[in-house]
Symmetry: C2
Subunit: 502 residues, 2 copies
């Protein structure tokens, strides 16, 4: 390997170690840390983050990247060497455009806003957090302005999470999706909703835990290189290719939350576990975009976990674990319960069909706020109106409306939500490609086997880490550019069987 | 506060945050990390350690310390300001004397040796690890030689752990102790050993855990600022004054190991929790020496936890938790069981009386190896001979002899063991001073109350962190220099009641 590239890699490894340490401290903060640790932990995280940023934006990194231009061009585009230089350059050029003082200001403001939000949400007090959110909007605009030449002011922010995407491309695909989705939602919600009372009996935590872990181990989540713990909000975090952890929360009166949550996080985690070990410690060892990441979690949670085939193998086992609760519930009835479609107020609890309407609303509002066509003070009313129009219901309070998601109160306005729906779309497109290549997959799933699917994803998606952009990956894996067609086909087929459509 | 001191404090805080991050990663490595995380974790720990060392030995720290000389002299010796400068200078002057390349070499060698030892110990294969230990000895000598002017080559290494102590002073006090201790051991071991079979029944883990935690909470271990987890080897670690954690291991056929282990670690942890919160993030926020630290763990474990008064309150409760196992075991019988004195091979399992003979042997061998009067290859035989002479038994293999402790295989030879026995001596001296000031303490202990004792220790020892040296602290708290008299008085009184002495 080139000696300059080795020098770059040594520096990147050091930065990676600081980032990994930050992730461990953050994982601990969300799982085991006693309350008294909070104050120092905030400071420790800030120090690690600042040191990593200082080291990454150091001009010597820029110098090495410059020196490596010829070498990069001499290597194949998707070789380890060229990719490492290319992705590092992309991240570097982005990082150096934002002054450190601004990063510090944003981080500090986010931390304050988060504190205010944690009090404002339970108190249903949007007014309390409003001035902070207005400041967040102002800072989000300033952040965008460090990347002049954009088409839409949201573009740089979308680009952070979903490289290569722009407001215009996302808007176009979301409009198509909306056009297809709204009639499906209306057709379903006009009918009698499914009965899901069977999911809301008492299910002891240790039994839920054990069953969920057994499922994701069979999916291919490697617990020699990961583990599950409890946290208030489920998440996945990677400390290295050999240590990718998930968390869950369990409510004993809700069977689906932990089970499907575990599958969801395991989907994220298998992506990170499947990255080529040679990428360890470099910027290549990350999922390539928020959309592709979400496609992997939603694929395992919904396309696999909520399928009839999956239940054919696992539901008899689940009945054995919970005989008193599920003994009299047929597979068909359980299948309908876990796929119940009905308008609801909370995004993270929404079903597979209405979920995207929650996301589209937030995405549109982000654009409008950044454009200045929607004022922060008008957000609660706009939220209620749009909800009523899209889902036929509206939150009676802001707690279950505009205050529900952490994103705007902990980071920025812009680029925060499109990944969720892009993930649903891509997940279906990837899954269709997998079935095309391996038509035996559904049959295997109904026998509790996931090797072929897991291996297809590992070979085509996981192992590449950040080598390919989302756009390149979709094209390589599916042969087509990003399209909503497979997702709509999937929804029509699945929900057409459960409900009458058209 | 002085502006230069503020600048120093800012730098120290950053270094502290790196050290704290290293501690969190190390805690995780010993508690929850899946096997696959090991490789990257080693690298991450090394990076954090290297960055902290680079930052601490930076010449700008030296410059600030120089600039602060006048200011330091203008402040009272034990003021926060003067102490912070003094302790930082002591650590700095020590750190800069050892070249970074040597630190890296030593760390790498320690890590390799540790790996070899983890295989050699279960295989009972001293020969396998011997060449590594010989290299360790060579490096330990070199390490000492970075501090020329010593009286004995072990002095700099002893000084790292127990500032101010020298081989000659430790040898003197250990000889006095030995003179008193050996006849006591011989007198006891000539008698019928106590019956401790009651401790080796089946005691379910969750019940052991709950009882131990209840005890240490009553001692004053604050679980809002700490927690207990399981690990292969129990330890205490501090991430900040607000987050000091302990670990334990529980064997269901051994009631005393986890219970007294938890008290021991809680003793260490209460010391760290009791440090003045104003010291947070600085070198003052550490226990002042390994001896003083051990005095706090042994005080709570032995002088409190293994006392008859303690049992008067807690044994009836323990019987309620384990009625089948302890229902027919009288308090007196249980008291004798937990205080059984008998020669044994393993230091960490040794009773309060013979324990020090294990330590003295190791301390003497460290000096002899460093002097060159004992070769590493002769260590196993020397171990057996000395054991036979001191304790009347000898290990039949090296696994339970020279291979048993991690210390020499993970750090250096020299300065590793004296703290354990210094701790026993100081613990008794501090406890006697506490009883002199508050004669009601034994009565309170027998009622399950520990506030007066805890407050005495907090006020006189804990809160000062590293402000006073061990020598200064002993003088301040007890009015006397370090002396074995209280410890010998304690042993004679306690064991004179249980066994016939003299």
């Amino acid at each position: 390997m080139d000696i300059t590239l080795n020098e770059l890699k040594t520096r990147l490894m050091e930065i990676n170690d600081l980032n990994a340490a930050e992730s461990v401290l953050s994982w601990d903060q969300n799982t085991y840390m006693p309350p008294g640790g909070a104050a120092a932990r905030g400071r420790q995280l800030a120090t690690l983050s600042r040191l990593a940023h200082e080291k990454f934006t150091h001009s010597e990194i820029g110098g090495l990247l410059n020196d490596l231009r010829d070498y990069e061009e001499s290597q194949p585009y998707d070789s380890y060497e060229a990719s490492l230089i290319r992705i590092t350059r992309r991240d570097y050029e982005r990082a150096v455009k934002v002054p450190s003082a601004f990063v510090a200001l944003l981080t500090e403001h986010a931390s304050t806003t988060f504190q205010v939000w944690t009090e404002a949400r339970p108190a249903n007090d949007f007014a309390k957090v409003r001035p902070f959110l207005e400041k967040t909007l102002e800072l989000s605009r300033e952040l965008s302005d460090f990347f002049p030449g954009y088409e839409h002011i949201a573009d740089p922010l979308i680009d952070f999470a979903d490289y290569g995407m722009k407001a215009s491309t996302v808007t176009k695909i979301f409009s198509e999706l909306r056009r297809e989705l709204v009639p499906i939602v209306h057709a379903i919600t006009a009918q009698e909703p499914a009965d899901d009372t069977s999911l809301h009996q008492h299910f002891p935590e240790p039994l839920q835990w054990a069953f969920g872990m057994e499922v994701v181990r069979l999916f291919g989540y490697d617990t020699n290189r990961g583990r599950q713990d409890k946290s208030p909000h489920p998440f996945t975090t990677s400390f290295s290719v050999g240590d990718v952890r998930i968390t869950t929360r369990i409510h004993e009166n809700n069977l689906s939350e932990a089970l499907f949550g575990t599958m969801h996080e395991a989907g994220h985690a298998m992506y990170e576990q499947g990255i080529d070990p040679a990428f360890e410690g470099t910027p290549l060892a990350n999922g390539t975009s928020s959309g592709v990441h979400e496609s992997q979690s939603r694929l395992w949670e919904n396309l696999v976990g909520r399928s009839r085939g999956f239940l054919e193998h696992f539901y008899p086992q689940l009945k054995k674990v919970f005989p008193a609760q599920l003994g009299n519930v047929s597979l068909e009835k359980f299948y309908r319960a876990i796929n119940k479609v009905s308008p609801s107020l909370i995004r993270v609890e929404a079903d597979e069909v209405t979920y995207n309407l929650h996301v589209l609303l937030r995405f549109d509002f982000e654009l409008q706020m950044l454009e200045g066509t929607l004022e922060v003070r008008d957000l609660p009313d706009a939220w209620r109106e749009r909800f009523k129009a899209d889902l036929g219901i509206a939150p009676s309070d802001d707690r279950n409306g505009v205050l529900q998601d952490i994103h705007w109160y902990f980071a920025q306005i812009g680029g925060m939500f499109q990944g969720y729906t892009l993930g649903n779309i891509m997940g279906a497109q990837f899954f269709e490609a997998a079935l095309r290549a391996h038509p035996e997959i559904p049959d295997e799933i109904s026998k509790g086997k996931f090797d072929t699917l897991h291996e297809f994803l590992r070979e085509n998606i996981y192992r590449h880490g950040s080598v390919y952009t989302a756009e390149e990956l979709v094209k390589r894996v599916t042969g087509n550019p990003l399209t909503i067609a497979p997702y709509i086909r999937y929804l029509r087929k699945k929900y057409g069987e459960i409900y009458e459509l058209e």
